[in-house]
Point group: C2
Chain length 116, copies 2
DNA sequence: TGACTATATGATTCAATACGCATATAAACA
DNA sequence: TGTTTATATGCGTATTGAATCATATAGTCA
């Protein structure tokens, strides 16, 4: 412990750390990822999401709220229906990247199993 | 619902969705983010992480296990000590991006409050 | 082998949260 | 206003997972 130990990273407050963690937590539920995936096809009303995802109405409503809170999804009312849409387009590529990385890692694992 | 509704996304299995969610969940704990942040300075032993993070030894050990399971962190034994290091360097920029996005959004909110 | 150090893990407790059901709110329209 | 439709929300339950303490394991050295 000497030279390398101090890159002197700007210290991150516990509060900021908590906010980043909360943002990731929003993406840590399969149901919410499913909703996001649905919204990648274009904006949809709550009931359209219900139909497309197979989730219950109450769940979609609540999960949508989480996604809105995280700033990932936007909402607007149009008469009786509420339309949801992705506000942060980088989400899609982010998820794709995660997916690809997982795939890569799993492939290596499988290879490892086969080779032993 | 007609033209736009069908971008015909390759359907993602529930299993894959669960794995992506699990990966995000790994990054959804402040303690693990803290450990990652520590490791950005360079590889560290478990006890060095304990010292740097203020977490307990048991917690660091378990969280390190989670990070290893997610493929984000690697581990090797060197005698009595176990050295941890970041294996996926894209993690750092990912976290930075999330952080910046949050900052942007919060800034807008604050502006909104002031302007009303 | 026995003592010592670094790390891992079993067991428990506790808090967060997802789900389902029922119901409340909001908007449109007769 | 009353009715119907779309969405939100209160509440109870069950599950998950993080923190803690104590202890087990692994490696080093005398």
């Amino acid at each position: 412990m000497s030279a390398l130990t101090h890159k002197n990273l700007p210290s991150v407050s516990d509060e900021a750390l908590g906010m980043v963690a909360a943002w990731f937590r929003t993406l840590s539920e399969p149901s919410r990822l499913k909703i996001l995936r649905t919204l990648e096809e274009g904006e949809k009303s709550i009931s359209e999401i219900v139909e497309a995802s197979g989730l219950t109405q109450a769940n979609v409503s609540r999960h949508a709220q989480s996604l809105v809170d995280a700033g990932i999804v936007g909402r607007r009312r149009e008469g009786l229906t509420v339309i949801c849409f992705i506000t942060d387009p980088s989400i899609t590529s982010l998820c794709d990247n995660v997916c690809n990385n997982l795939l890569k890692r799993l492939t290596h694992q499988v290879k490892g199993l086969g080779g032993s």
